[in-house]
Symmetry: C2
Subunit: 339 residues, 2 copies
DNA sequence: TTGAAAGCGTTACCAC
DNA sequence: GTGGTAACGCTTTCAA
């Protein structure tokens, strides 16, 4: 574990010169620079990041806050962030903030306060006002992925438009009785992306004169609950819808499985469209709006790096693309419905 | 951003006393301790971790190496680790090491060398000998989850026994033509847990005098590939097996979906058993051996903490439990097979 | 029980 | 171009 002093001695220069040669800041002759580098190499010199941090005030770390890492979207984003970070020689400190957990509170109180990061990326975070307040008073650059939008730098798809297009696709196929499946109930106070998607659906329906058919069936945003809720309402006595817009692919897939279980053919009896293009979407021939959380993670790192380099620059809002991928879970409604 | 000097001044003591009072090391009178604490509180004092690290040599961070975070097992483990870490006031530095990626190499070379962690947890890592070498020469405490076993502290289920029991369950139901689905091919050089599971299956079959039926069908360890490969061999012309032992639940679920698609009834025509008790297992009524990656993560943190506290202590090997959860994807073989 | 001062390993300012 | 030296913010002897 040799330090910069050892390197300097071996290269026959002072610590300051060695530092300059190694970090590339300030004037050093090419000859000395080479000597210092050689010395560092043969010594296997690795700078102590603590010392560097203490001296520079930079941590070379960025913090990532994520509700949990087990849902597809979050996992992909984290992997994307990781990749971008490694390429830039930055460390990734992961903080999970499961909604409602004691640890979340602790994380906000203790961890954030330590400021062991040069910048923060929050993914899918739906902060309470108290939490939001905490985050902003930290005073570190911040980029938000796929969640709230408070004038900070942010990247996400346009949730409203994605759901709008998904719904319009169904309408164009001839459907009228279209249901929106998934997300928190309308009156819930923390519904961010979900709520915008419901909004897009609602608007598409209304604009097409189908306001009477508008129906939002809330459920947890995961496959098992999508399945369970779909089983329930598909077997209900009311007029079964001919199409479903799901809040995301996981819920869509849950619905497809539910339908199959009940002998309801997809897409012949029921069309289903999702949002995401989940890894499993192809397997279920799911028509969906593709987004790439991985790339969103990379983009966020890019924005954050810029913010760290120029702290006073204005926040940027990046709209990630969502492109329609038509597979075979959507089709025109069955004949009777057309009458 | 007040420092310990400010606290000391406000409490009317020296920096050293303030430090002792706050860290709880060394003698301080109760009265002064209280005064220092009050001062720290009103000032909102947060120690600079860099300075602390520099002075103590401890980083208060533990590193977690994981291939990626998008598979169920890994995601759950990481969440478990996170939870345990937060409770101990430790930071989590995440390193992804996707097999074969350029970043993996970079991570091993650069990141590990920085030693910005007091200990390391590797999850499902299947290290090359070069990588293994690198990890051990780091000289930091190490705990391994669900992967190789090199005399270091480790936690995982007994893969061999889990597959053995899964297979025996099928045999007890009356099956003979039982296939093992998933994992790397036998001759692959990096097959760790998978290979042990194949071994358990093979042993159970042999012991039951069913050696002639032994058949390992490799596939990637995820649902889409389990599905694809199952579609293939279930529709093949050869005698279809009456039961499948899947390397994990994701593959098992893929197989179930494949079977359904082909009109093969589960469990009437085909029994399927998995290992994991994946979040989706219940939804597919999957019989499986339950393990809790979350708890394994927590256990690993516990082992690691002990190792960090007493660096010379001997490594511990923890076998996580795997308990059979019988749902309805397994049943006796169809009549013809019994003859 | 307390305080002064010496590190910990860098960077950065300021002379030379 | 280069070297001396003072930070950076804390912990930890060692005296008192």
């Amino acid at each position: 574990m040799s330090g910069i002093a050892d390197v300097a001695r071996r290269a026959g220069v002072s610590k300051s010169t060695a530092s300059r040669a190694l970090t590339g800041s300030g004037y050093v002759s090419d000859a000395t620079r080479q000597r210092v580098r050689d010395a560092a190499n043969t010594l296997g010199y690795v700078p102590s990041t603590h010392a560097v941090s203490l001296a520079t005030g930079k941590t070379q770390t960025i913090g990532v806050i994520v509700p949990h890492v087990t849902r597809w979207y979050f996992g992909e984003v984290v992997d994307g962030i990781q990749n971008a970070l490694i390429a830039r020689d930055l460390d990734c400190a992961l903080f999970s903030a499961e909604p409602g957990s004691a640890n979340r509170q602790r994380m906000f109180d203790t961890y954030l306060g330590r400021r062991r990061f040069d910048g923060l990326i929050t993914v899918g975070l739906e902060p309470s006002t108290r939490e939001l307040d905490r985050i902003t008073t930290i005073g570190k650059p911040l980029v938000t992925i796929g969640s709230y939008d408070a004038g900070t730098s942010a990247v996400s798809i346009d949730d409203f438009e994605a759901a709008l297009r998904a719904t319009q696709h169904l309408i164009a196929l001839g459907h009228s009785n279209i249901v929106f499946l998934g997300g928190a109930p309308e009156d819930s106070d923390h519904s961010f992306g979900d709520a915008r998607r419901v909004g897009g659906y609602r608007t598409a329906m209304t604009e097409a004169g189908l306001a009477e058919f508008v129906q939002h069936i809330p459920c947890d945003v995961d496959m098992p609950d999508g399945y369970a809720v779909a089983v329930d309402f598909l077997s209900g006595s009311h007029a079964r819808p001919t199409a479903i817009v799901a809040v995301c692919d996981e819920v869509a897939i849950g619905a497809i499985i539910a339908a199959r279980r009940q002998g309801i053919g997809v897409p012949n009896d029921l069309s289903v469209i999702g949002i995401d293009d989940h890894t499993h979407a192809e397997m279920f021939s799911l028509t969906t709006l593709r987004q790439s959380p991985r790339e969103q993670g990379e983009t966020a790192v890019e924005l954050l790096s810029r913010l760290i380099a120029k702290p006073r620059s204005t926040p940027e809002r990046v709209w990630a693309p969502a492109t329609m991928v038509i597979r075979s879970s959507t089709a025109p409604p069955p004949e009777p419905a057309r009458l």
